[in-house]
Symmetry: C2
Subunit: 402 residues, 2 copies
């Protein structure tokens, strides 16, 4: 990466440890607690197949052609309906469709941040956001979380400190529900506090909500976007509830952001695939999507419990395992002095993989934490994975100096 033509900022596109572990996860016999993949067998793939064929046959010259830069009318209306099912109000005019919500984050970054600017993220945070921000040449500041999510006092202190340094953050990136990677959910009482702190400091919030509907206790929390639609940009996706391979996500944006966001979208990808957009739209408009998503959420919850039950007896004293209320991930904090990297080596020997917690922080900040995904494997395989992880923990423990 030292070729003279390459930019300094291109070094910020960090290799994703999730991707590196993904290589290991493809080995035969491996049980993966690594990737955040949805289980597509929970959906109706025959419907997708037939519907894709029907869309091409009946509307081929439209759905296979260039489309609107903001997204198709049907999809923008469908997204509003999907958000309403999660108690988030939006107008179709607010919806900017993107080729996956990762792209929505890229576009928002382009419009809100200059190279060298500072952004706030949770500690830990989504690894893909670190890549987007790093490649944009931004300075990333982590803010502490606990079991109730982002800590308002820590946020306030960090903002004060940065503003005093002349580095007012350009945005706060947060995943309030069933966070990736920690599984934590921002508590109800903290939500208005976070929103108010950012509003007072003149810092827009990017609220990323890929997992919000994947819970057995829906309607439990108000969206930040509901609390302040003028300062909170909401990101959503079909990746976890329908299909990641369609690459359809969106931003619900305040009025002042819509036109710049549309122009950024057109300059980056022209448009999202109209065929994929119409498939996603019809999933919402023609199917009992709420019931289907609730069924999938129950399956994921069962898997979370299966993994948890099997892990409990094998964890070392002092380890803590988060108990997420939804989503795909649990967060395991090992006792002081343990190394997640050393554990990963032993785990791969035992044929189980996970992502070390250091992946979810800016470089140099490591630790003895790991993300465990339960979304993709069966309860039986998750339990077996937990037993394998237990053997890896025992081996690493035996190798440690007393």
């Amino acid at each position: 990466m030292t070729h003279p033509f390459l930019t300094e900022r291109s070094r910020g596109f960090l290799p994703s440890p999730v991707r590196d572990v993904w290589e290991a996860s493809m080995q035969p016999g491996m049980i993966s607690l690594a990737g955040g993949n949805p289980d597509l067998s929970l959906g109706d793939l025959d419907w997708v197949a037939e519907h894709a064929a029907r869309l091409v046959r009946e509307q081929g010259p439209t759905v296979l052609q260039y489309g609107s830069g903001t997204g198709t009318t049907a999809l923008r209306e469908a997204i509003v309906r999907l958000m309403a099912a999660e108690d988030v109000a939006a107008d179709p005019a607010a919806i900017q469709v993107t080729a996956g919500s990762q792209l929505a984050l890229d576009l928002v970054t382009k419009v809100l941040c200059e190279q060298g600017d500072t952004v706030l993220v949770e500690d830990p945070t989504y690894v893909g956001a670190l890549g987007t921000f790093g490649g944009a040449g931004l300075r990333v500041e982590h803010v502490a979380m606990d079991a109730e999510g982002l800590v308002p006092a820590a946020l306030e202190e960090r903002i004060r400190h940065l503003v005093a340094e002349g580095r007012r953050p350009r945005m706060l990136y947060t995943i309030p529900n069933f966070q990736n990677p920690s599984g934590a959910t921002l508590s109800e009482r903290r939500r208005p506090q976070i929103v108010e702190l950012c509003r007072a400091a003149g810092i827009p919030i990017v609220e990323d909500n890929p997992y919000g509907m994947l819970t057995t206790t829906p309607h439990a929390h108000v969206a930040l976007h509901e609390l302040d639609p003028e300062h909170v940009i909401y990101l959503g996706t079909f990746s976890k509830v329908l299909s990641p391979g369609l690459r359809v996500g969106w931003a619900a944006a305040p009025g002042w952001l819509r036109r710049p966001l549309q122009l950024a979208a057109e300059a980056t990808v022209i448009c999202a695939s109209p065929l994929a957009q119409e498939l996603a739209a019809h999933f919402v408009l023609e199917r009992p999507f709420e019931a289907e998503i609730a069924r999938a959420a129950a399956v994921y919850a069962e898997r979370a419990e299966a993994m948890r039950a099997a892990l409990a007896p094998v964890l070392p004293a002092g380890a803590t395992l988060s108990r997420p209320q939804g989503g795909f991930f649990s967060w395991l904090a090992l006792p002081e002095g343990w190394s997640a990297d050393a554990l990963l080596d032993a785990a791969i020997d035992e044929r189980v993989v996970f992502v070390p917690g250091a992946a979810f922080r800016a470089p140099g900040e490591g630790g003895g934490e790991l993300r465990l995904a339960y979304s993709f494997e069966s309860p039986e395989r998750l339990a077996e994975g937990a037993r394998r992880l237990g053997r890896a923990l025992a081996r690493v423990s035996a190798a440690r100096p007393a």
Copy 2:
């Protein structure tokens, strides 16, 4: 666009006049010489429909899931075969698949250019590239073209001037074949000159080739990438030969660029749709794609001639119309003192639209030129469009001071 949260660079995401004219083109009865849309009725949409359904039925859990950040193995091999049909050698390992080639340009820009850097483009150039570069906060320098394409002496002089100012360009963006918007093709003798000039100055070239196969005289020109694979990044797309709505394009990159480009792709969109990728791959691997593309090229050539023949009698003295050897566009230069914007107003009254030439230059540089697309309408409609343009020209001429 003056909200305090918005960045300075976001103003560089210029509204595309192509999009603005697109609105007009949707009016009933309008003949559009504006958009660069392929005519999808030339392809086999039934095959696309059946094949999409088959892919989902047989490989749903794979093609609807997250995929490789570089692209599927089948597609990267198919792209190599497609490029070989155009006499361009590449290795599958060199291929970075992207969600359309617009995204490839965004990724290359991220990896090669810091905010504030200078890039070289043709005069005129592709409007979408101006959006990408503007939104990246780059300074765009146009280099003169003539009927043989980019002028080497002008390029040399511009590089010398910029280097003397401490603004060494970070890349040259060029469309050597049937350029959008001018229709010009870089002559065979100039190709090694352009490559050598840039190599000597340490400036990588981005060679965008969306239209290369859409000609009735294939194999006429060597690709710049063939002349210097280490310094020329080649961009290709399925948008003009199969479907823009699938959003599948690629970059063929030198070794030093591959890893940064992959990381940039993952940080921007995670991956391109595996379903769309496999559809594109099978178009190449399972169908007589060369014959199909050649048939489409003959249809487009016939349309170019139909438009040209109908325009010839209605153009004012001193106007010149380019005669492209392929692609989708002709370039009409009106005599000194004419305004393409005034002509557009009159043309819309006559129910025909085109894109004024100013769209293809950095802001402030207008002119009496226009891009005429012949790809989408039938020969009869193109001829009628030319007659309507003739009436608009007559009206504007009558209104001009003597």
